[in-house]
Symmetry: C2
Subunit: 271 residues, 2 copies
């Protein structure tokens, strides 16, 4: 069905909306020569509050949207899909390799923690799913995980309120209880949160190491492609190929906020 | 098809999610003897960013969910449906009377303003649809409407941050430019916003009259039922009949926040 992908084939990345652009940015930073194919299911965002059956159906659709463009691998930038439907993506994409943002973040956090007390922040849905704690404890059952939902962080990021007193106050309210638990590592378990990284870092202080799952998955991508001899040979950074299922208001300004660059053309696809 | 509804039949109210509970609360306050039937389409919230075709299909589904329980009238508590699909509801519910929250708020604002400068706040989708400005100018083309999207107000309300410094800072950022335009009337064009009414009032000051669309639609409901001889004769406030399409996390605490009372049983319906 598919032609065999080669080193010059694109890396496919999908998310439920715009948040996965932080993963695009991290992958471009780590691997500037790679072609990137991004699908954001902006018509059906957010996935978090939906049932598992629905999320698994969406994960299949999203994977198919990428497969039509012959990627060499797939990165699941959506924490919800990583938690509840990674096997659906693996099955649909077989034999292509699949990396999930959640497992990458959890693995790096386990490597980094010294006192085995890890904080995880995410949306209500991610925190309630307990998926990070599960992934972390599968690697090391001794680690204590302290989770906290931060529902205001996504709209604060989308409003571009990255350096506001209101954001600092809210960050203190969400994060100081975790600091009080003595964590030495904090996982940003939502793709939007890197936008607020500076405020988050200031709030938790220098003793807490921040794990950005987007950066973690970019590092793993690099390692994996290198081992497989599938790194692209380009040196010029190609423009990402963007696909969305609905063109949301403010998409252009969100793109600039997430990517620090002007938005290229966007393809509207039906799912 | 339907039995003829009588004065003791319920008032049907629907919204895309929990926000419409502010309308339930206002109607119960104005008409404590009425039975209330509420449907919140919590599986498909939010409607705002979706296409008009999809919103019109959802409006039909929501109306049918209420019609199965033989209401005597229908209140559209959802600003998005009021703006884009009120005719769909009217057609499906015919010959029952239908009231939309948007028209009720717009009409009251036009009655109240003295200097003909009205502010409207709502979600990005409501503000971009320009529906309040259109409804207001249809009643009085001389009125100047100043709109502002306040995307953080819904999550701040849902977090219960009704008396926080962060909320005050954000309210100032959103509302002071409207006050600077010399408005004398401010429409709360989103069903969540009454939760933050105190902060909003403090921010805009006593010279600006707040129009709560939920209260406005409750007043119109009372007038309409009275004229039609359809007011219920009960004196004991009956427990609302709640239906949702998905049971969201935190539904119980949101219900308490919106209604100031404990949540009754909730029926899960498929749409």
């Amino acid at each position: 069905m598919h032609r065999n992908p080669g080193p010059e084939s694109p890396i496919g990345i999908f998310d439920s909306g715009v948040g996965g652009l932080t993963v695009v940015k991290a992958v471009r930073h780590a691997l500037p020569g790679e072609r990137i194919l991004y699908f954001g299911d902006t018509a059906r965002v957010p996935y978090g509050p939906k049932s598992q059956v629905t999320i698994r159906r969406y994960a299949e659709d999203d994977t198919q949207a990428l497969l039509r463009h012959q990627p060499k691998m797939i990165i699941v930038a959506c924490n919800t899909v990583s938690a509840l439907a990674l096997d659906v993506v693996e099955h649909a994409a077989d034999p292509l390799p699949v990396l999930g943002v959640l497992e990458a973040g959890a693995t790096l956090a386990v490597e980094v923690t010294k006192n085995r007390r890890i904080g995880v922040i995410g949306t209500q849905a991610t925190v309630c799913s307990n998926a990070y704690a599960y992934a972390i404890n599968r690697l090391d059952p001794q680690i204590e995980v302290f989770s906290r939902a931060c529902p205001l962080f996504v709209p604060l990021a989308e409003e571009g309120m990255v350096n506001d007193e209101a954001t600092r106050l809210i960050a203190r309210q969400y994060l100081l209880p975790l600091v009080g638990e003595g964590i030495d590592t904090l996982v940003l378990g939502c793709t939007h949160y890197p936008i607020l990284r500076r405020v988050i870092e200031e709030t938790v202080g220098p003793a807490v190491r921040i794990i950005d799952s987007a950066e973690a998955v970019a590092t793993r991508t690099e390692t994996m492609l290198m081992k497989a001899g599938m790194l692209a040979s380009r040196t010029e950074p190609p423009v990402p190929h963007l696909m969305v299922s609905d063109l949301p208001q403010k998409f252009g300004s969100l793109y600039r906020l997430f990517m620090d660059s002007e938005m290229p053309d966007v393809e509207l696809v039906e799912v």
